[in-house]
Amino acid sequence: MAAAVEESRAGLAELAQVPWRAPTDERFLRRYARIWLAWTFAYTVPFLGAGIVLMALEPLAFPVVLASLAHAWIIPELYAFRGASVLRVKGPRNAHAEPVAQGLLGDLLGHESRALQRATGVALERGSMGVWLVGEAGALLLPAGGRRVHCFCVRATDRTLPPADRIAHLLLALRTDERGFATVANHAFCGAPWRVRRRLPVPMRPGLDAARAVARAA
């Protein structure tokens, strides 16, 4: 048993696939959140400013002003959509195997998280970096306070797995090495939870609400 535990302390096996990546830890996430915030301002403010200046200079240019304001609205929407998409249902459903997979996933989850997963399709997991919401092909992380959500794109490599098994794969990897999991995953978006929530499928929204409530209480 000791040898087995020693192996785990070496980190997630999949880290060997991404040796060039710096470990994704709390400091990395705080820096990424600041970069995303600055980036959001960088692609929003110029369009807003251009619209205001154009309107002041020439009111007849309002169609161009509208186009500029539309850019300031659409681009952040697209980024948030990209973030929410990590939780969207993807791949074959494998309906015949799903009840068996759900049974195993239910055994791995606690009572509260199991009920939430059955209702929303996403599994809530408390970690040292924050509260995770794990889906079939991605995960959201809400650090303590719940003011930001980090969206990660990550999936099991076997596409024949039923959906619940895909979640179980990610959950086991997350439980094995949380920072390793975040490092292997591709960071897709960081922003306010309400921006992501609006673009989530409706059944999944209570999952994000629950995760945010836990993160706020942390």
């Binding site: 997630l12 096996a13 990590v86 494998n94 009840p99 999991f181």
Partner: protein, 74 residues
């Protein structure tokens, strides 16, 4: 009773079951475990309460060991 299972297209398959006192059953389970590793699976020992350990050898006193496929950034 300890169990070795593999997550696959059927949901999951039970590969072996053993008790700490049954050497033959444990050896058969250990063989299944090694075969799984050679096929690219990763062994995970479920420890409950949100904890799991990656294992390279089958722990004799484990409760549930799960073989999973690698994950990758999407």
């Amino acid at each position: 009773m300890s169990r070795l299972i593999r997550m696959d297209a059927t949901g999951h398959s039970t590969l072996a079951e053993w008790t700490a006192a049954d050497d033959a059953a444990f050896e058969a389970a250990a063989r299944e475990f090694r075969d799984g590793l050679e096929q690219g699976y990763i062994g995970v020992l479920d420890q409950g309460e949100g904890r799991a350990e990656q294992v390279r050898e089958l722990p004799r006193d484990a409760g549930l060991v799960i073989m999973r496929r690698p994950i990758a950034g999407g």
